[in-house]
Symmetry: C2
Subunit: 315 residues, 2 copies
């Protein structure tokens, strides 16, 4: 029994039971994989793979059980590498942050300069995508952490923790009727009033868009959504050219910089939202990842994060 056999079994399953593919992915010969797996099965005394003649079709029942244990072993082996890297080069390495445009553009700039200063040797990369894609990236370990408002908390195998809460803001041109509202009238703004104007807002999968739809739907109102985009900059641009009013995340509106627009907070209409960070269960996190998370939100202490990541196992 050896680690190589574990790798071969795992990769064969991942490549849909194609030994040739598995061998290629692991940069080795296909007969070698075949032989190693057969020897492994002999040693265990059970067949792992269902074979129709010479074609491997799937897992046997014991094979399923074995593959689950192998997954756990290989995950720990990966952790072993990370653990030792952590000590060998405590503050070098990579940090891949999977996030939506909103987070990359409005949240992370507050954090990343300080992080870079403390860990100048850590190679940072931002991977953008839809919340569902971000979750996948973390699950496949293409990213270390995901930051988004939607979807993360629902993904099995992911530990999620709250980063901050925010509300939506309506943005309009200064010459728009809504721009004239007194601040108390703005606070009483209704869904019906909003629905009178064409709306520019987020794409379906992003940044609290789902609740916008729900809120309108439960009130039986059908807003005229003229344009959807994944980022607030695009939305603001089209509001600016007079396409309609914009509904964006509060964090994405800065009165100092967005001088050509007027912002009206509408938390009373669409509620408060929680942006969360998602981390794969059971993985070992480098020291600087904990530091990054604590910079992101002071509530994300090392103890809190460790608890969330190590606590529950997926089924």
């Amino acid at each position: 029994m050896n680690l190589q056999q574990f790798r071969f079994v795992r990769e064969t399953i991942r490549r849909d039971f194609n030994l040739t593919e598995a061998a290629r992915m692991l940069y080795t010969s296909q007969p070698g994989v075949s032989k190693a797996i057969i020897e492994f099965e002999d040693e265990l005394g059970v067949k792992i793979f269902e074979r129709h003649g010479k074609r491997i079709k799937g897992l046997t029942k014991p094979g399923l059980a074995v593959s689950q244990v192998i997954d756990r072993i290989m995950r720990e082996v990966d952790n072993l590498k990370k653990v030792s890297e952590e000590f060998a080069r405590r503050d070098e390495g990579g940090l891949v942050i999977a996030c939506t445009h909103t987070q990359a553009r409005y949240l992370l700039p507050r954090v990343i300069p300080a992080f870079r200063k403390q860990f100048p040797k850590v190679h940072l990369s931002l991977a953008e995508g839809s919340p569902a894609q971000l979750a996948e990236m973390v699950l496949h370990e293409h990213a270390d952490v995901a930051i988004a408002t939607e979807a993360l908390a629902l993904t099995p195998g992911l530990a999620t923790l709250p980063v901050y809460t925010w509300e939506h803001t309506v943005v309009v041109r200064p010459d728009h009727p809504l721009a004239e509202l007194t601040s108390s009238a703005a606070r009483a703004l209704s869904l019906e009033q909003l629905a009178e104007y064409p709306i520019v807002t987020y794409d379906r999968a992003f940044t609290g868009r789902s609740t916008i739809d729900e809120v309108f739907a439960t009130q039986g109102i059908h807003p005229d959504i003229v344009l959807e985009a994944i980022d607030a900059d695009v939305i603001k641009t089209y509001v600016d050219v007079g396409l309609g009013i914009g509904i964006i995340a509060g964090v994405a509106f800065d009165p100092r910089r967005d001088t050509g627009l007027v912002g009206l907070p509408v938390g009373h209409l669409f509620g408060t939202h929680t942006t969360r960070v998602g981390i794969k269960q059971g993985v070992f996190l480098r020291d600087y990842v904990y530091t990054f998370l604590e910079m992101l939100a002071s509530s994300l202490t090392r103890a809190v994060v460790q608890d969330a990541v190590q606590g529950t196992e997926e089924a």
Copy 2:
């Protein structure tokens, strides 16, 4: 990186950082172990062991982290063997039950005949000991399950579940004054009354003895305990020869068979006790172990046991 290196590291730690001992335990040469460990450290890029010159003194900080991951890996590797054995020979194997004399003599005879009938090829063995020893046996995987009333629930790394509850019984000779009590008077029996007579009961570490001591102590009564034994048969024997009155577990008194003695239930004095089964966290249990546990108590279903064993990880 390979499994052999993991074994060497683990065994070296277990043998108090003595390579020579570790090599002997693993039936290999000492230089081989040395070399493998050094290569492993080189590959990881960290020193696992603290060395004073050529003497290994203990773990380094990264070594501690590494060894914890290795423990998890090796535990899963052991599980791999058990999983495949389970499927290879579903109803053959061994079941080591670590229990106190009370359980071996009075509880298990109700279960084991049926179990043997269903799994005739499973080799059973009963390992007796003090509750603390039983817990150790399970933690070291010298036994599969431990059954006892004391200590188990307090042992870290052990999942425990209730099997049954019971009360103490006082046993006396038929010619003893207490034997004359009406059943209602027996139910009102007081600690003071008991303390009038010499007492024969369990050894300190066994079968609810601790609560007997506590109950007397909180009442400020100092009973005359003339003899302590680890099993009820011995206690009953000495009661029979007139040494005093006996206090034993209710399960250990059978009016049909213990015809030479009279039993008086004293749950109202010493409370109810719960006998528990203890299983090591994280281990894979053979199918017949689940069946055994369910025979032991119908509440111990497979789901309940799996939850308890897999649920919480020790620190």
